[in-house]
Each structure stands twice: as structure tokens, then as C-alpha cells.
């Protein structure tokens, strides 16, 4: 009877019986992608809400995003900050586990697939580490699956070393992965949304751009490395790859019926239908009452309006389709109350909603053609080569598509960044853009007094607030191992 003491779970798999077939590895890879689904929400909470695109004053109670928005320094216990750290490391753990298992048991996987698995896994690892570096600066560098006791010996690693792994992983991804999957071939269908060499090139270019940004005297994402010349050729390769194009219509890029379009270089994929594969980001910045007003029977999510900053609304020239597509002015509640502030509806298509407010099916575009085009302009303005005409042309293409008729010439870097702000509003890019270009402190400190009529925001944002604090939970789990970022001690 003592055999009965050896029980294995009946309703879940377990590690010893896994990683035995190629299908197992395929599942392990999908699971390494899965942590990406938290990225859009994180981008809205920690980048969009932190930036001058949102004036998010809470009316109905204290919301966890309020201190992010108003530059409180009490963020060590903030759940969004904690998630940014743990969510990315969860993804890194899955990549590391997969890579370790591939090295040990990978013989069961066909060679071509093994190469691709490695490339995709390393792309993901670079993606997760880059997100960490941009939000936290120094983070512990872990490149294989370690047990907790081993991890407790790894301190925060200098940003430069983390970048080395990111760059080397992306270079592997570029070498190992196909250029793109356009889904036109049936065999490609199950691959749409996977990392590609073009996605890796675009991300690597952004990494170089970010690393080239100013240091602000903190241990943040900018190392002032002046690598614009490394970024530019990568961007050109992507733009000239013939795999992507500049869509003629701005709304078409985000259409529920036009997913995986030619504009998309890398996106995070969602599927509605109640299987837990949908997302909450489309409705994240609008209040519950908005859905009630539309008679959509979503359970309350404790959501509150995070209004669009007037400064951003005013930035759009008259007739700019991006303003009316991305945003809408308020709504009228079922009881007749009229909300007059603007809210974000960029990803909302109520007729294509899923079963709950966390079951939207629209993909989140991380890297798209226009973004790459504007990054190219950014490189040129930093003297990486190319001409002012190319810069002006890129900006004017974007403006023309948006229905803005006035053409710009001699576009400056601040103008370019403002154009990015209008174009990429709601895409989680704004905060990182400001940081990268050294504009963040001047812009934010000038914006707050203008926007903050209710006097809720800090009036003196300093360089320490460019990155977030190490979550308290991490510092408590191994006292003394991680130092805290300045300004949050």
C-alpha cells in the first residue's frame, strides 16, 4: 500500500512529465509569450498615465494610479509598480526555463524549430528586460532558471550589463527568425503574432535610441551612448523590407476587422470569447458608467475616468482625425448626468466587445511602421545620417494621413516628439519618448501648472522620478540585496 504515497496531480501537469515532446516545447514557448498580455495595461498605467497625456484626478476614492499620475513618491507598495517588476521576471523565468530545457532535452525538437524557439524566446527575454530597464533602471540579471535561493545572491546589475544581454538576445533573434509572417499562407496563420527578425530589428533600434538618451545623473535607461548610427540602418532595413507599409487610414490601423495589418511589426495578441485570452486595456481609462450608459452589461470594475489632458487635446490641429478617433468627449449617464471631460476610446469597439470588460479582442500594437518611420527621423535629427527632408517627409506623411493639411518644414526634435505624441497617443509610448529625448523634466514641470487646476499634482518632478522605485516586496524578500532608487528611500 505504500505505493499509494506516490501521488501525482490528477488535474494539472507537473514538471517531471513535461518537456518530452516538441509539442510540449511549443506549449512552453506559448507560455513564455503569455506574460506579454499584461504589457498593454502596464503601458497605460505606468507610461501613459505618468505622462502629460492624462490628467487623472480620482473623484470617487483613491485609485492606485493616482500616485503614478500625480508624482507622489509613495510608490514602493504600488501594485502597478510591483506588477511591472514581477510580471516581467515571470516572463524571463519562463524563457530561461525553456532555454534550459531546450539545452538539456531539446533533442526531441526538430532543428529548424529549435532555432526558431531559441530566437523567439530570446526576443521575449530582451523584451521583458527592456521593459524593466525603462521602468526601474538597474535590475538583477538572470539568464538561466534559478531556484529562489540562488536568485537571492544576484544583486541589481548595472544597466549597461543588462543592455548587453538585451542586445545579444535581439541579435540572436535577428539571426534565427524569419522576416515576417503575413498570414497569407495557411501554414503561417498559427505564427502570426510571433516574434520575427524585423520585430527584433525594430526593438533593437529602439534599445539603441533609448540607451543613447541622457543619463539625467541617475542610473536609468539612458547611458548617453550616442548609438543613433547603429539604430538607423536597422530601421531602414525594416522600412525597406517590403513586408510592411504605411496604412492610408489612421483608424484602419486599430480596426477590430483589420488586425495584423501591414502597419503592424509586432503586436500582443488577444482573443475575446470568454476563454481568458481577452484584455481589459480598451476600457481601462473609461469609467464603469460609460458602459452602463451604453447599456452594456459589464460587471462593475471600479473603473473611473482618467481624462485626457487638455494639453494633448489642444495639441491636435483642427480636423485631425487622430483626436476624434482616439478620444471622445464624455458621455451622458443613464440618469442624465453629462460627463464633459474627454476619455480614451481608441481601442473601444462596443459592438465587438467580449463577454466581460476584460474580454476585448483587439491586439495591442507594440511596434508599427509609423513608429519605426518616426524613430528613423529621430535618428537623423541626432545626426546619424539621412537628411532633414527625410525627417520632414516622415512627419508630413503622418500629418497628411491624419487630415492635417499644413505641411511642416525644418522639423525640430521637439516638433517630432510632439508629432509622436499625437500619433502614438494611447499607445504607452509618451513617457518613454520624453525620457529618451531628455525632455521629460522640462515638459512635465511646465505642463503640471497648466493642467492641474485641482491642485493635486506634485509641482517639482525631479530626475529621480524618471524611474520607479524597486517594489517594497522585493526589498523585503531579501533585505539588503537590492538598493533603492534615489528619491524613494
Amino acid at each position: 500500500c505504500e505505493k499509494d504515497l506516490d501521488q501525482t496531480p490528477l488535474s494539472s501537469g507537473s514538471t517531471p512529465t513535461f518537456y518530452q515532446t516538441q509539442a510540449d516545447f511549443d506549449q512552453a514557448l506559448s507560455a513564455a509569450y503569455a506574460p506579454l498580455v499584461a504589457y498593454p495595461t502596464r503601458a497605460l498605467n505606468l507610461s501613459e498615465t505618468r505622462s502629460d497625456n492624462i490628467y487623472g484626478v480620482d473623484d470617487l476614492g483613491v485609485r492606485d494610479w493616482a500616485p503614478v499620475n500625480n508624482f507622489s513618491t509613495a510608490l514602493v507598495n504600488n501594485p502597478y509598480v510591483a506588477e511591472a517588476w514581477s510580471g516581467n521576471y515571470n516572463g524571463i523565468f519562463r524563457v530561461n526555463t525553456l532555454l534550459d530545457q531546450l539545452a538539456n532535452n531539446g533533442g526531441v525538437v526538430a532543428d529548424a524549430a529549435r532555432t526558431r524557439y531559441e530566437g523567439e524566446a530570446k526576443f521575449l527575454r530582451a523584451f521583458y528586460y527592456f521593459d524593466l530597464v525603462r521602468f526601474f533602471g538597474k535590475v538583477p540579471l538572470i539568464d538561466k532558471a534559478l531556484v529562489p535561493a540562488e536568485v537571492a545572491k544576484v544583486p541589481r546589475t548595472p544597466v549597461a550589463d543588462v543592455y548587453n544581454l538585451i542586445i545579444s538576445d535581439l541579435q540572436t533573434a535577428i539571426a534565427n527568425l524569419p522576416a515576417s509572417y503575413d498570414g497569407s499562407v495557411t501554414a503561417d496563420k498559427p505564427n502570426v503574432g510571433r516574434a520575427t527578425s524585423n520585430a527584433a530589428k525594430s526593438l533593437l533600434a529602439l534599445v539603441y535610441l533609448t540607451r543613447s538618451g541622457p543619463t539625467y545623473g541617475i542610473e536609468g535607461p539612458g547611458l548617453a551612448t550616442n548609438e543613433y548610427t547603429k539604430a538607423l540602418p536597422l530601421l531602414n532595413e525594416v522600412l525597406n523590407s517590403g513586408k510592411y507599409s504605411f496604412l492610408a487610414s489612421y483608424p484602419d490601423i486599430f480596426s477590430y476587422t483589420n488586425e495584423n495589418n501591414k502597419e503592424v511589426i509586432f503586436d500582443i495578441q488577444f482573443l475575446s470569447g470568454g476563454a481568458g485570452l481577452g484584455s481589459d486595456f480598451p476600457g481601462l481609462l473609461v469609467p464603469d458608467a460609460y458602459f452602463t450608459a451604453l447599456k452594456i452589461p459589464f460587471a462593475s470594475g471600479g473603473l473611473e475616468i482618467r481624462p485626457i489632458a487638455n494639453d494633448l487635446l489642444n495639441s491636435y490641429p483642427a480636423g485631425d482625425v487622430r483626436k476624434t478617433f482616439n478620444f471622445a468627449q464624455g458621455y451622458t449617464s443613464t440618469t442624465g448626468f453629462k460627463e464633459t471631460r474627454w476619455l480614451m476610446k481608441k481601442y473601444l469597439n462596443e459592438s465587438a466587445r467580449g463577454t466581460t470588460r476584460t474580454d476585448w479582442g483587439i491586439n495591442w500594437i507594440v511596434l508599427r511602421y509609423t513608429d519605426v518611420l518616426l524613430m528613423k527621423a529621430e535618428c537623423i535629427l541626432h545626426g546619424a545620417g539621412g537628411s532633414q527632408a527625410e525627417v520632414d517627409d516622415a512627419v508630413n506623411r503622418v500629418r497628411t494621413r491624419a487630415g492635417v493639411t499644413t505641411k511642416l518644414t525644418g522639423v525640430t526634435l521637439p516638433q517630432l516628439m510632439e508629432e509622436r505624441r499625437r500619433e502614438l497617443a494611447g499607445e504607452g509610448s509618451r513617457w518613454h519618448d520624453l525620457v529618451r529625448e531628455g525632455l521629460v523634466l522640462t515638459t512635465i514641470n511646465a505642463w503640471i501648472p497648466k493642467e492641474d487646476t485641482r491642485n493635486r499634482m506634485s509641482r517639482n518632478v525631479d530626475a529621480n522620478q524618471i524611474i520607479y522605485p524597486v517594489p517594497q516586496a522585493e526589498r523585503s524578500a531579501a533585505p539588503g540585496l537590492y538598493d533603492q532608487n534615489l528619491g524613494y528611500q
Partner: protein, 1041 residues
């Protein structure tokens, strides 16, 4: 003629007579023997006997099971009347211990006994309820007011931080699968005491120290509760009818603002909102002026009041007291019929019971049907064979009353003002919500129309055989099965759900089947050597297998037909998160042994050992060994004590033992895979990855208990009692210790950490008055304090992640478990405080609360939290006084606790800074700060506060209470009813929970647990809207035929 001389040669005396009981009833079947011979007879139906004996003086011996044997001398023909005395002394003196019984005088462990005879005289639905206040060291918390649901039972405090803290229950030798309350205060797969009918219980013993409990090895660390059900007693078959019926009501309502006060607060907030919304805006401006300023013609309830509030009679508006609407007078009734009896060959007890309770809140109810048959057949002198079986079926109706956002919470916080057109139908059917009010659906209509039924069918069965191999050596084998089938159905009709225009029905179905099979085989040998050495040995083997099947389905997308509440009519059932079937199983294999030795009833020794193998433990640590030993010295038996007459009994005891806690869940040591799907190109891609860290060394928690105590009786046992002091050190605690997320997980289940519980227990029973007027008092008092000794690596304090704002519980070395860790509130900020540089939390202004800047850094933030209390009481106590005079009996049970604290998230829900205008708040806000001139009582700040909130002492309450649990007045109708109608009859009236006091003003019940307040790793249960206790007035009858 021939016969006469022969007869004459053997001359005989004729002895005739009658054997009767104490109340002069004839006893049939009494054995009458001439001492030293085999000459004898048995008494007839009326107790009479006739016996011829040789003409020699001698003694007759009268013996009868359950009665003391009596001898009577004779020296000639006589007619005798013999009154036999019931052998209560002998019964009393045997206590049930693990795998056997023991003479009470020989017990060396710490055992608390509860004679359950009185249970049938109280309207109790559950066994755990019956234990409240009865035993020293046993804390029973009534964590829920939903009838039929399990309570929390803790023996000698909490030894475990995260694993199970509930004791092991053993019913008639059958160890039931232990189950822990989850953070929602529920036993997910049933409490071991579910559906057990308290009326069937004869006796309850709680094994408290390791010496008594360690025979149950890896399940004994939280104590063991041995429950013995009734057996037949020899004598005439008895039929008992016990029935009662009565009313129940909530002991209290919560003091919330009434409608006028709610309006007053609303006006204050709306005006302040308006004033703060822009320059030049004044509180004195009318709605029309505000509309003009905003250039709108609509009403914005954020900035404009409902003008009807201020009009006389508030036309068009109804004022509602939702608590009054929701609470009602409940009705309870119970009928039990039992038959019992015994002969030389068969012993039986058969009962059937029906209980019905309509709760004190609309929609709450409970019904239970149960039956029991305990039958033992003595097939021969050497072989006994028995069957205990108890099927039961219960239905709990709970529309979802307790817990966060559930109905009681809504009842309390819903705005007390509604449109007259909608009235109590606010936001249901064709009515929308009140523009200035909560957007929730009418809690009353929800209570009336939501379905939340749980049906449980449970069968407990034991079959056993006992074979006496040689004299003193017995082999006993048992096979036990406990099968529970439970299903829950919930359904909310469309018209009370969602908002106007998008109302949809929602429903779910879930259930489980839990099966526990136990086979135990024991060999017992007992022998008395030389008249002085009593030795009992025990060896055993036990096999335990439990399997749990669970399933669930749910639908939120509406139903196609409003008359159908089953899920086949749901529009959409999809997804895997809330729809599943799962199975888990576990095995426990044990070997155990025990030796008990007594020398002349004076020097006592007991030692036991158990080796447990469990499938839950890691592959490197499958087996654990749990030894224990105890010593006793009955000083009162010593010759030098014989002269000291006041002391009739005195025994010293000391014990040391190790026991375990295997409440770690199945498969916890294995790195399981989670399902983490992703999407590629619009199609689901299955994904799997480890969801926790592999731990092949994971094992039981280990407790070491020292116990010293003494039992005493003085003045011919007029006063008896016992005292214990113990130290229980629990090590290798299963902690989900926070680990660096860089490892891929935020926690790892590890055997680490140490907690110590120390305590004192005193039980006293005093027969204050004997004679015609009897007065007995039983007192139990216990003190327990616990302390964290070690935590994870480096002993770093662990703050318990709270689902609601920053952590408010901390685990810290040197501090009690789950110490309450919040900022102290200290009055209300005045302008001079602020001018004087008082520390502020965020954007606090005058009229907001003043908090203590504990770290002195000039600002209030989470770093200013301090330990302000601990959840466990320092003292728990119970006092029972019983009186008897002629046919009357009266008993009063008072029970209470002192020294603990509650940190109430329900308090927070009804009483937090910055609560919006729509929600209702505690009556405490009547005396809030309104202006520097009108600062109120100094406890609560202004209604309009925008600085947010921080966990602080506003929601800290003392958990001290005392409560008169039970007052029962009975009258023995036996004095006026003829014996031919009934052998015994008693009528009684009982008042439960009528009097008492507690300090929990932020909720209904200081012991309530109904909502998870921690996280998965530290699932702290908190009150987020638990029902008040019910007070009941019950009339009952006991008949014996």
C-alpha cells in the same frame, strides 16, 4: 412418597424478592447468584425472582450491566427488596482516548471532556456550536450567521501561520479528513462536522496536549476532538422524543445614518464639491445658479443637490431603512425520535431527526434530515461486530448574504433615500437607480429573489469487528467511509441584476464529492500483574485515502427564459477559469503503538509513537515519526495523604510530545504546471509552464508540546478541577515565504519559521449546594499567547498583502501572529495643528483626521504604521451555573473573551475617509467635524475629504465580549405524568444570546469571517459584512417512553 425423604435430605430455603432501580421500577434480567456457586437465576419482567438455596447462610450477588453489583447476606428464607444503584461512577471514570478508553484516574494527558447530555436541551444546529464556552483551551468562533455553516474551532491557539488550524475530528474511532476554514470563513469541501446531528452525541473529549493527541501523529498538532455517539443501555428499550420550536432574531442592527442624516451629509459633500470645482463657486448658490455657471440644463448630482431634500415632506422621495426591510423574525423547529436498548447480545441506538431554521434575514434558511443507527452484535464471548451508519441531507438557502459586496454589505451601505416611484424596487425591473444614490440593485429584492442553495448529502459509516484472541488480547478492525455529495446552485434573475436596459440573469452551479476511506487495525493487550501493575499495550496500522472531485459551471451572459434557472438555459457558458472539473487525492499510511502503565493506581506512565507516511509530503520526506510520553502521580493515593481529609483527589501530570500538521494541501511539494495560453493569428495557442517551485523536501509542520498540570478534588469532590500550563512550539511551518520575483515566482512554500503558543487552563466544577436545592457551577478559563519566533530567511518581517490598500497585518519575530499594523488616528486636525507643522497624509486639510507620525519624519505615510493589537484574545472563558429544585432546573451559560482586537475591513467599508456622497456610513458621522466652530465629537473628520485614506486605527476594535449564550429553564413533568404514559417528560424554555456586550461597532459580529483580506499566500479571513448572532426563544419538550 419416595420423593419426600430425598427432598427432605436436601433441605432448602426459599429466597424470593424483587430487584428495583432507584425509582422503584422493577429491573428485569438481573443476574442473581449465590456467591461462590453457580446456583442462580435472573429476574423476571417485574424484577421479581425466586431462588432455592441449601440451608446454609451465605450471600446473594446481584449483578446487572450498567449498575453496581450488590451483595446481600442471608441466613434463612427471606423476601428481599434490592435496590440497585446505577454504576455512574464507573462510567464517569472511563474516558475515551485515541484508540481506546482509559480510567479517568489513570489519564496523564491533557484531556477536556464535555458531557453532551445537555445538547438535546438546547436548540443547536451543529456540534461546533455546542462547544462554545464549554472547554478550557478550546476556542470556538461563530464566524458566520448563515445557518448550517461550520464554525472555527481552535485548540490552544494557532500553531500554524498558513496551514490548517482546525483540530482533527474522530467520530466513534473514525478519523475524519481534516478541513481548514478558507479566508472566506468557509470549509470549501465541507467541515467534518457538517450534517452531524448534535442530539446523537453522547460525549466529546478534546485531546489537547501532545501526550494525548500524538497517537494521531501528523494530524494531531491542532488537537484532536473525539466524538462518541449514543449507544443503547441495557434495560427496557427506551424511546425518546425531543422536540423544540421557537423564534430567532438578530441581536442587533448596525447604527448607520438615517435618511435625514444621510441627506445632511450629502448636502455637505455636494456643496464642498461645488466650491472646490472652480473659482467663484459658493455653497450658497442654488441649483439654477450652478447650472448657469456650468452652462448646462441638466442636473449634475456631483455638484447639485436634490432640491426635494429640503422641501417639507421630501415629495417624490421615500426614506428607507434597509436593515429593517432585510431582517425578520426567523423560526426554528426540530423533532428527534430515538430508540435505544441493549440485551446481552445486541446493543442498539436508532434515531431520526428533522431540523428546520428560517433565518433572521430574508432568504436565509436551513433544513436537515438525519438518521443514525448504531448497532453492535455480540456474536459470542469472543467476537463482537458492529455497524454505525448515519445518512443525512441538508439544504442551506443563502442568497449571498455575508461578505464583501454581498447583500448584507449592500443592505447597510445602500443610500436610505429612493425615488417614491421605485421605492424598494430601486434599480430593479423597469426602475433605474436614484440619481444621488447607490447604483446597486435593491438589496431587498435581491434577498427575496436570488437563489443560493447548497444541498449536502453525507453518509458516515463504520463497520467493525473485535475478536478476543486470548483473555486481555483483542484485535479490532474497522472500515470507515465518509461520503459527502454537495452541490450549490446560485441564480440571480435578470430583473434584479445589472442596470436598466442591460439586465441579464446570472447563474452558477458547483459541487464536490468527497470520499474518505479509512481502514484501521489495532491489537490491544491489557493485563494486571500481581494486583498492582496495570499494563495496556496497543499496536496499530491505519490506511487513509481521501479523494475529492469538484466541478463548477457559471454563466453571466443572461438566460434565454426567465422561468428557467438551470444552466442549460444560459446564453453562454464558456471559459475555463470558472468552469471545470478537478480531482485530487491523498493517502496517509500509519503505524502506531502505545504503552500505558500504572502502578497501584499511583504512578502512571504512558508513551506512544506514530509513524505517518503521507502522499502530501515531498519525495525526500515521505515519513515522519511522532513520539510522546507522559507521567502522572496520584498523590492522593499515597498513604501519607490519607490523613489529609479535605483533599479527596490529587494528581500531578507532566507530558512531552511531538505532533504534526499535514494541512498543506495535496501535491504542494510538486512543481505543477499552470495553463498559460496565448493567441497567435486569432487562434488560441495552448501554453504550459511551472506555476510554483518544486520542493521535494516539503513536509509536515512539527509541534513540540510540554504540558504540566494537576487534577484535584477537595471536600469529597464537592470542588473538582484541573489546571494545565503548556508550551507548544511549532516549527518547520509551511510558509509561502516571499521570494524575489526575479526567480519567476513571488513566493515559495517552504518549511520554515517557528511559532510558540503558551497558555494556562483552569477548569473548576463546584457543587455549591447539594440537597433539595442544588446549585452547581462550572468554570473554564484559558489564557493563550502566541508569538512568532522565526520567519523566513533572515527573519524578515512579512507584511500580509491586503486586497484593500496597504498591508494591515504583519508577521514579525517576537510579536503575536498577524499583529495589526496600522497608523494611529489621534483626533482631528485643527488649523493650529497644521500651522504648527503637524504631520499630514497627502493633501490633508483642516477637519481631516490627525495621525500619529510614528517615525517622526514630518509626514504621514505607510512607514508610520505601528503594531496596535493582535487578533487572538488573551483570555477566553465560560461559566455555567445550574440550579435544580424539585422538578425545576435552570442553567445559565455565560461566555466571553478578552484581550484581542479586530481590524475590520467592514468597518472600513462603512466608515472610511473620503467615502463618496452616495454610500451610507456609520452613525459615528453624526458627530463629525463640520467647522472649527462645530468640531463634533473629535472622532470623525469632515464628510468632504479628498486626501484619500490610509489603514489606521479607525477600523480597529477590541474583540472583547461577554455573552449569555444560554438560559434554560426546565420542569420535570415526570412528577405530574403517570409512568404508564411516559417514563420521563420535561418541558423547557431556552433563551439563547439574549444578553451580552461587545465593542465591535463597525460590524455585526466580532468573530465574523467571510472575506479574504490577505492574498493567496497568507489568506487572512476578515469581516466584510458578517451576520449578527441570532437570539432565540425556544420552547422544547423531552419525552421518554
Amino acid at each position: 412418597l419416595q420423593a419426600r425423604p430425598f427432598a427432605k435430605a436436601v433441605a432448602e430455603w426459599q429466597l424470593t424478592g424483587r430487584v428495583v432501580s432507584a425509582n422503584n421500577e422493577g429491573l428485569p434480567g438481573v443476574t442473581v447468584v449465590v456467591k461462590g456457586t453457580t446456583n442462580g437465576t435472573t429476574t423476571g419482567a417485574d424484577g421479581g425472582f425466586t431462588l432455592s438455596v441449601p440451608e446454609t447462610a451465605g450471600s446473594l450477588v446481584f449483578s446487572y450491566i450498567g449498575y453496581q453489583t450488590q451483595e446481600r447476606k442471608f441466613s434463612g428464607a427471606e423476601t428481599l427488596t434490592i435496590k440497585l444503584v446505577e454504576d455512574t461512577k464507573a462510567l464517569d471514570e472511563v474516558v475515551v482516548v485515541g484508540y481506546g478508553t482509559q480510567k479517568k484516574g489513570d489519564v496523564t494527558g491533557a484531556i477536556a471532556s464535555f458531557n453532551a447530555e445537555k445538547l438535546q436541551e438546547r436548540p443547536l444546529a451543529r456540534v461546533d456550536q455546542a462547544l462554545v464556552g464549554q472547554l478550557a483551551g478550546v476556542q470556538v468562533k461563530q464566524t458566520t450567521g448563515v445557518p448550517g455553516r461550520g464554525f472555527s474551532v481552535q485548540v490552544r491557539g494557532a500553531g500554524s501561520i498558513t496551514a490548517n488550524n482546525e483540530p482533527l475530528y474522530v467520530i466513534d474511532g473514525f478519523p475524519l479528513e481534516a478541513a481548514a476554514q478558507n479566508a472566506s470563513g468557509r470549509f470549501g469541501s465541507g467541515s467534518p462536522l457538517d450534517n452531524i446531528n448534535p442530539n446523537d452525541i453522547e460525549n466529546i473529549e478534546v485531546l489537547k496536549d501532545a501526550a494525548a493527541a500524538a497517537i494521531y501523529g501528523s494530524r494531531a498538532a491542532n488537537g484532536v476532538v473525539l466524538i462518541t455517539t449514543k449507544r443503547g443501555k441495557s434495560g427496557k428499550p427506551k424511546i425518546n422524543l425531543n422536540t423544540y420550536a421557537g423564534f430567532t432574531q438578530a441581536v442587533r442592527k448596525l447604527d448607520m445614518l438615517n435618511a435625514d442624516e444621510w441627506i445632511d451629509r450629502s448636502v455637505e459633500i455636494i456643496n464642498a464639491n461645488w466650491v472646490n470645482s472652480g473659482p467663484g463657486r459658493l455653497a450658497t448658490q442654488t441649483t439654477t445658479e450652478r447650472q448657469a455657471a456650468l452652462k448646462v440644463t441638466t442636473i449634475d448630482p456631483k455638484y447639485m443637490i436634490d432640491d426635494r431634500w429640503l422641501q417639507p415632506g421630501h415629495p417624490g422621495l421615500d426614506f428607507v431603512d434597509w436593515q429593517k426591510e432585510a431582517f425578520r423574525t426567523g423560526f426554528t423547529q426540530d423533532v428527534q425520535l430515538a430508540a435505544s436498548g441493549a440485551s446481552d447480545f445486541v446493543n442498539y441506538y436508532v434515531s431520526g431527526d428533522y431540523l428546520k431554521q428560517d433565518g433572521m434575514v430574508i432568504g436565509l434558511g436551513y433544513k436537515r434530515y438525519s438518521a443514525r443507527a448504531n448497532v453492535e452484535v455480540k456474536a459470542s464471548d469472543k467476537f463482537k461486530f458492529g455497524l454505525n451508519i448515519s445518512p443525512s441531507y441538508s439544504i442551506t438557502n443563502d442568497p449571498g448574504v455575508e461578505g464583501k459586496d454581498n447583500l448584507l454589505h449592500l443592505v447597510v451601505t445602500s443610500s436610505p433615500v429612493v425615488e417614491s416611484t421605485a421605492g424598494l424596487n430601486t434599480n430593479t425591473g423597469n426602475f433605474t437607480y436614484y440619481n444621488w444614490g447607490t447604483t446597486r440593485n435593491s438589496p431587498l429584492r435581491l434577498l427575496q429573489n436570488s437563489i443560493g442553495d447548497t444541498r449536502t448529502f453525507r453518509t458516515l459509516g463504520t463497520i467493525y469487528g473485535e475478536f478476543q484472541i486470548v483473555k486481555g488480547l483483542a484485535l479490532r478492525s474497522t472500515a470507515n467511509i465518509d461520503n459527502t455529495d454537495a452541490e450549490s446552485k446560485s441564480y440571480t434573475p435578470a430583473f434584479v441584476n445589472g442596470s436598466l436596459g442591460s439586465r441579464q440573469a446570472a447563474g452558477s452551479y458547483s459541487g464536490f464529492r468527497k470520499q474518505t476511506f479509512v481502514n484501521e487495525n489495532t491489537l490491544t493487550y491489557s493485563k494486571t500483574l500481581g494486583g498492582k501493575h496495570d499494563i495496556t499495550g496497543l499496536a496499530g496500522y491505519s490506511y487513509n485515502f481521501t479523494k475529492l472531485y469538484a466541478q463548477a459551471l457559471s454563466a453571466t451572459g443572461g438566460f434565454v427564459n426567465q422561468a428557467v434557472t438551470t444552466l442549460n438555459a444560459a446564453t453562454n457558458i464558456s471559459g475555463t477559469g470558472s468552469n471545470y472539473t478537478t480531482e485530487t487525492q491523498s493517502a496517509l499510511i500509519s503505524y502506531f503503538g502505545r504503552v500505558q502503565y500504572a502502578y497501584a493506581g499511583k504512578y502512571l506512565l504512558s508513551a506512544s509513537i506514530r509513524r505517518d507516511g503521507s502522499s502530501r509530503f515531498g519525495e525526500n520526506t515521505k515519513f515522519g515519526v511522532f513520539p510522546a510520553a507522559s507521567l502522572g502521580w496520584r498523590i492522593s493515593q499515597e498513604s501519607f495523604m490519607q490523613g489529609i481529609t479535605p483533599i479527596s483527589d490529587l494528581k500531578l501530570r507532566a507530558s512531552l510530545g511531538y505532533s504534526g500538521n499535514n494541512g498543506i494541501g495535496d501535491y504542494s511539494s510538486i512543481a505543477t504546471l499552470g495553463i498559460y495560453n496565448y493567441t497567435f493569428g486569432g487562434a488560441q495557442a495552448s501554453g504550459q509552464a511551472p506555476n510554483r517551485v518544486n520542493n521535494p523536501d516539503l513536509k509536515w509542520e512539527r509541534s513540540r508540546t510540554y504540558d504540566v498540570g494537576f487534577d484535584f478534588g477537595v471536600l469529597k469532590n464537592r470542588l473538582t478541577g484541573s489546571f494545565d500550563y503548556y508550551t507548544k512550539t511549532s516549527k518547520d511551518l509551511l510558509l509561502n515565504i516571499p521570494v524575489l520575483s526575479a526567480a519567476g515566482f513571488s513566493t515559495q512554500l517552504t518549511n520554515i519559521g517557528e511559532v510558540v503558543n503558551r497558555g494556562l487552563e483552569l477548569e473548576l466544577t463546584s457543587h455549591n449546594l447539594v440537597g433539595a436545592f442544588q446549585w452547581n457551577t462550572s468554570v473554564n478559563v484559558s489564557h493563550n499567547s502566541n508569538k512568532v519566533v522565526h520567519l523566513g530567511v533572515g527573519d524578515a518581517p512579512i507584511e500580509i498583502v491586503s486586497a484593500y490598500d496597504i498591508p494591515n497585518n504583519i508577521l514579525k519575530v517576537g510579536q503575536p501572529l498577524y499583529s495589526i499594523y496600522v497608523v494611529k488616528q489621534n483626533g482631528i486636525l485643527s488649523q493650529s495643528d497644521i500651522d504648527g507643522g503637524a504631520a499630514l497624509y497627502g493633501s490633508e486639510t483642516v477637519g481631516d483626521p490627525k495621525y500619529v507620525d510614528a517615525n517622526g519624519d514630518g509626514k504621514i505615510d505607510p512607514n508610520d504604521r505601528q503594531i496596535v493589537g493582535h487578533p487572538n484574545p488573551n483570555y477566553i472563558w465560560g461559566v455555567t451555573n445550574s440550579f435544580r429544585y424539585k422538578g425545576f432546573d435552570l442553567s445559565v451559560l455565560v461566555q466571553g473573551q478578552n484581550g484581542g482586537s479586530i481590524y475590520s475591513l467592514f468597518g472600513r467599508a462603512v466608515d472610511r475617509t473620503g467615502t463618496g456622497q452616495v454610500d451610507n456610513v456609520l452613525g459615528l458621522y453624526r458627530d463629525r467635524w463640520r467647522s472649527p466652530e462645530d468640531p463634533g465629537a473629535g472622532q470623525r473628520g469632515k464628510a468632504y475629504s479628498t486626501f484619500g485614506r490610509i489603514k489606521n486605527t479607525d477600523w480597529l476594535y477590541s474583540s472583547d465580549y461577554y455573552r449569555v449564550r444560554n438560559i434554560t429553564l426546565g420542569y420535570d413533568l415526570g412528577l405530574i405524568i403517570k409512568k404508564s404514559i411516559a417514563q420521563g417528560a420535561r418541558v423547557y424554555v431556552t433563551a439563547e444570546n439574549f444578553f451580552g456586550h461587545d465593542k465591535y461597532t463597525g460590524g455585526f459580529n466580532p468573530e465574523a469571517v467571510n472575506t479574504g483580506g490577505g492574498d493567496n499566500n497568507f489568506p487572512v479571513g476578515v469581516d466584510y459584512g458578517g451576520l449578527p448572532l441570532a437570539k432565540s426563544l425556544i420552547l422544547g419538550l423531552n419525552f421518554t417512553f
